[in-house]
């Protein structure tokens, strides 16, 4: 696995990377315009069909779990302790009270994380890193800058692999991973010293290789992977523009009369995250347990 990119044949995959980048910007902007939990929830649900269309539902759900962790934390801790809250909604054991204003604040924040996360995951999973680089170049981003971005995508998995190799080699020489804190900090040296050296060596080699292929030559460069904005992209962009206009209209003229957010909605979304979180924990525990049972026979 070189990056999170999932090569699939779908409408979303065939969009131009620039369209998808604008899409991410659009989602970020929307999540700030719609600072109302109910509307954000609607928006989040509305994004899901795109994930289905891109055929990345399963990997999406796996990666969104981590963001859900944040959502659970924010909603619980802020709901109880954020000082802006005055109106109590309900109480749980030990007199901890969830308050309306804090819950609104927490929900807006966590939904925003989930919405932006969904867009980002969708973008990364459906866009080949090289396509993104060549699209950036078309936007007059300097070629070297696009390359820096691209190589960042590539070097992370490389370093991860090297780190694993170094760690195994040191483990084979029985680097002790237990012990006191000082001992553990000391143990980082045999891990990271070789890793740094390997990384520097690789980067050094890379620079030679690049020079051999005339990287610093001036003038226009062509790209192996061409991207093109087609009618599909225009449709998509128009759609985004329409939604954005509607959001702004909503924000400017209807916010006063619209009361979608209720105690029930807040409470249910809080419980919802708890339940999903609970399932994640149960799944994790069961998996650990199965590993033990499965190995026994």
């Amino acid at each position: 696995m070189n990056s999170l990119y999932m090569p699939k044949d779908s409408l979303i995959h065939s969009l131009d990377p620039r369209t998808k980048m604008l899409f991410v910007v659009f989602v970020v902007a929307s999540s700030f315009i719609l600072n109302d939990p109910a509307l954000q929830l609607v928006f989040l649900v509305a994004l899901f069909p795109l994930v289905v269309m891109a055929k990345v539902v399963k990997p999406y759900l796996i990666s969104i779990q981590f963001l859900l962790l944040f959502a659970v934390l924010i909603m619980t801790v802020h709901g109880i302790y954020n000082p802006i809250g005055v109106t109590p909604v309900f109480e749980i054991f030990g007199g901890l009270t969830f308050k309306y204003e804090s819950m609104v604040y927490a929900s807006v924040m966590s939904f925003r994380i989930l919405v932006i996360g969904t867009a980002a995951v969708l973008f990364v999973m459906t866009t080949h890193p090289s396509d993104m680089a060549s699209a950036l170049v078309k936007w007059k981003v300097p070629h070297s800058f696009a390359f820096i971005l691209l190589s960042t995508f590539q070097i992370i998995p490389i370093i991860a692999r090297e780190a694993k190799i170094v760690m195994e080699a040191q483990q084979a020489r029985c680097l002790d991973v237990k012990g006191s804190l000082i001992q553990r900090v000391k143990n980082l040296v045999p891990m990271f010293a070789p890793l740094f050296i390997i990384t520097f060596m690789k980067v050094h080699q890379l620079s030679y290789v690049l020079e051999c292929r005339a990287f610093s030559r001036k003038g226009e460069k062509t790209s192996l992977r061409e991207t093109k904005i087609g009618s599909l992209d225009y449709t998509f962009l128009l759609g985004m523009l329409g939604v954005l206009a509607f959001e702004i209209y909503l924000k400017l003229f209807m916010m006063g009369s619209l009361h979608l957010t209720t105690d029930a909605l807040l409470t249910y979304s809080l419980f919802g995250t708890w339940i999903v979180f609970g399932f994640m924990i149960i799944k994790f525990v069961v998996k650990q347990f199965q590993g033990k049972i499965g190995g026994a026979n």
Partner: protein, 290 residues
Amino acid sequence: MDITFKDVSYIYQANTPFEHRALSGVSFHIPSGSFVAVIGHTGSGKSTLLQHLNGLLRPTEGKVMIGDYQISAAEKTKDIKSLREKVGVVFQYPEHQLFEETVAKDIGFGPLNFNVEPKEIERRTGQAIKAVGLPEDLLQRSPFDLSGGQMRRVAIAGVLAMNPEVLVLDEPTAGLDPSGQREIMDMFSRQHKNNNLTTVLVTHSMEDALRYADHIIIMKDGEKYMEGAPLEVLVNKEELQRVQLDLPEVIQFLHQAEKQFGKAIPYRKQGIAQLAKELTAVVKGGESHG
């Protein structure tokens, strides 16, 4: 130490979209003191197999037994540290694991982790550096000042200094010059004989396998494909070609000679000079009769 694999399977990232079966149902037995070569195409599961030998990986199914140690999915191996002391692993490009300020300290890193006495470490360091054919005055230099080949030798010395009973080598000569490759392999062969080691060599070189090993395991797609003595396994051209492997050059040459002169010369690991003599006899004999 005896090494036994019993129906060992290993699955990377089980229960995820990236699930990948690297080993399936591999069984074999390596008696103590033998020199085994594991051969296979890239991605055939050699390296995964090797990582089971010192408990870096635990089999998803099945059992690995190394001497008295038992590694299986069900239970954590007790005393994995002492297992790792007894099984020395030289990984691919081992020079990448060097990190200490001086060569001596780096060689001593393994033994130090096993709580060996400083005096003893010093003795072993001296021994190990001599074994890999480096001068002792390198000991106080930084390992990063050395050439690639010297760094490789220092890293190997670091493994030898642990005084392992089992030596596991993952393509230890990859990227070295031909004479360096030969020297290092001869050194391992000497260590194997002198210290009564059990050696497992993962290699791409059919020549090395033929020259040094007394038992050969060929892997294919995570399964054991062939197993046996080198002179049984490495002469079977069709079977080997099915896994994209070639006959060793000597065997290829002898096959050709047989075709040309109509008389087979049996290969018994004789040297080049001896082979030349036998070949001359065949050629001359052929002429006098014809």
